[in-house]
Amino acid sequence: MINTEYDVLIIGSGASGGMAAYTLTQKGVKCLLLEAGPSIDFQRQRGLKPVYELPYRGFGKPGRLSHVLQANEFNANQWVDEAEAPYTHDPREPYNWVRVRMIGGKSLFWARMSYRLSDYEFKAKDHDGFGDNWPISYADLAPFYDRVEPIFRVSGRKEGLAQLPDGNFVDDTSPDAGALKRFGAAGQSRGMTVTKIRRSLGDGQFASSYNLLLPPAQATGNLTIVSNAVVREITTDKKTGLANGVNFVDRQSGRELHARAKVIVLGASCLESTRILLNSKIANSSGVLGRYLHDQFYISNGVIAIVPEAKDGKAPRGLMGGAGYVPRFRNMKTKEKNFLRGYAFDIYTGGTPDAKYYPSWGEELNRMIESHRGASIGTTIMGEVLPRYENHVRLDPKVRDAWGIPVLNFQCRYTDNEFNMAKDAVTTISEVCAEAGFEVLNGNDKMFPPGYSIHELGTCRMGANPKTSVLNKWNQCHDVKNLFVVDGSSFVTGGTQNPTLTIMSLSMRASEYLAEQLRKGDL
């Protein structure tokens, strides 16, 4: 019987777990990585199909994946089956928990938006007095951003903005569309700057731990990967209180197994990591495990506008096409009356509005859509959600998943800070569109339910004080020193930026610290 004790057992193979494996194995650390889902053979698992061959003509099976608004009938099988792995919430306060279980995790499907946080986030309390600062500053993490960006080949343009630090970019020298320039000029007086989208190029096909992190980690000879391993709990030594391994269930057979390791690294994704800790009954002397759940609220097509010169297919060359990003500009030098923090938004040009935005039908509707084909400006608004103690997850005492593991119950809602911010965003963007000479077709300030952004953060936050945080500044558990949590659950506050680049940089930083502690014999 195999009874190996690994140096480090990593739970999760996505961006955070993958980066831990990448970093640790290159330091000579023997790692075992457990992933709850299977390894995917993309040649066999996917195939082209016309939509009319799908059983539900592209609508999807009614009632399936009701929380996953990103799902469609083509990709329904890539998401976690909610019947197999349920969670609960008050029906009046939905939470859209979007999950992927396969080698590579959500990093197989992310939008690849790769932005750094700044000290407006790391030191947010210093800036506006709300909540807590992180126990680290931007300067602590910047060297790791510098090293993660080249691995993922982040494209971008240096802008020199304090709220959106520049990175180690593959230079994006493409020209901005004329419509973006007009919007930028109109928004300048409000402090807006239209930047390039910063995006991980990866190898073109993927920008995932699946292709960029796990292969080099395995090439060291120091990484063992086990798929279909659904972790039930972390086990501890009763004498020392230290973690000594993991109990897991084989996803397909239901067989129960135990793996041993000197150190445990949790990178199972924000809420799965917290769920594992809650089920393990460890790491919660502070009482804040599961607390301070936050994300970014999202409004797709918050403002849709038409560029008049582009109607009826008459756009001059260079007017339309491409997208930009407007980073946070609120509550930096000035102070808003009815909300803290701020929002960012993507702005994309050259699209065609959905039929639902037109007050018509039949032939007239078709005429309107054809006239606006390729002539629209669209925006996706991403607002910072304040991390609040009240927003939390806990174990549901009554519901278990297909493997008998207690599931999470969500208690989470947005507050007036988010609602007021959303109103400001739609009003302001509409005004700027009008000043730029665009015709506003629709404005919507209602955001999707919490969770929709797939940027769930917090619940296992870092902090200098063990009484108010779960992890120290090295993502190391205050209570169990040979336990590290390296995913988004460690965030103290999230800003408006897509978090994956920060998650990977934190994971690299924590893993290097961990490796050094192992080398010195301190773990």
Partner: protein
């Protein structure tokens, strides 16, 4: 033209044949396990989707509701520019199936909406929605002139009409009839081809 006849006409035209990624092809190359089969010995059967050979039997809506849905579908998505309309694409029959398989809330939206449409039609014009004139039928669609909102409209008829407008369009543009009649290379949402994930073991 009767829908069955419409489909047969399309199927008879060689240039409008089923795209290369037919179910048979997918089974041999793309599907789970497909790559392990000895392809040289596998017969290359051409498999048709059921709509090419049969028509959906309406089962969910009452006859009165269904007649209103057919009339409404024809108004919302008529044949245009050589492309099939909702009736050509069997959209009402498909929606009868889809809504019948949907959660109760969605079923209610449709049932209440269709009943309201028929009730208003009788009250104002003395006939059911399927039997009034084209101008009268359009008059009852005034709620569609109200702007789109993220939250569903409180008025049951407006909510139904807005849902139906989207659903009828999707059921039509995602039909085989539409895909076959459209120029090749249409996008995923227009009867085109998309990357399908097979169920994961």
């Amino acid at each position: 033209m009767k829908r069955r006849r419409f489909i047969q006409t399309l199927a008879a035209a060689p240039a409008l044949a089923v795209p290369a990624t037919s179910t048979a092809d997918a089974q041999q190359t793309g599907g789970p396990g497909g790559a392990q089969r000895p392809q040289a010995n596998a017969p290359n059967l051409e498999i048709s989707p059921p709509d090419a050979a049969a028509e959906t039997m309406p089962r969910f809506f009452t006859a009165l509701q269904f007649s209103a849905l057919r009339r409404l579908s024809d108004i919302l998505m008529p044949p245009l520019n050589g492309l099939p309309g909702a009736l050509d694409a069997g959209a009402p029959e498909f929606l009868d199936f889809l809504i019948g398989a949907s959660p109760a809330e969605r079923q209610q939206v449709y049932k209440v909406g269709l009943d309201t449409l028929n009730a208003q039609s009788r009250r104002r014009f003395g006939k059911s929605y399927a039997d009034i004139t084209a101008d009268q039928a359009v008059e009852l669609l005034a709620p569609l002139k109200r702007p789109w909102t993220y939250d569903p409209p409180a008025d049951p008829l407006e909510r139904f009409l807005k849902d139906a407008r989207q659903d009828v369009r999707t059921a039509t543009t995602n039909s085989q009839e539409y895909a076959t009649a459209e120029t090749p290379g249409g996008g995923r949402r227009r009867g085109g081809v998309g990357q399908y994930w097979y169920p994961i073991d």
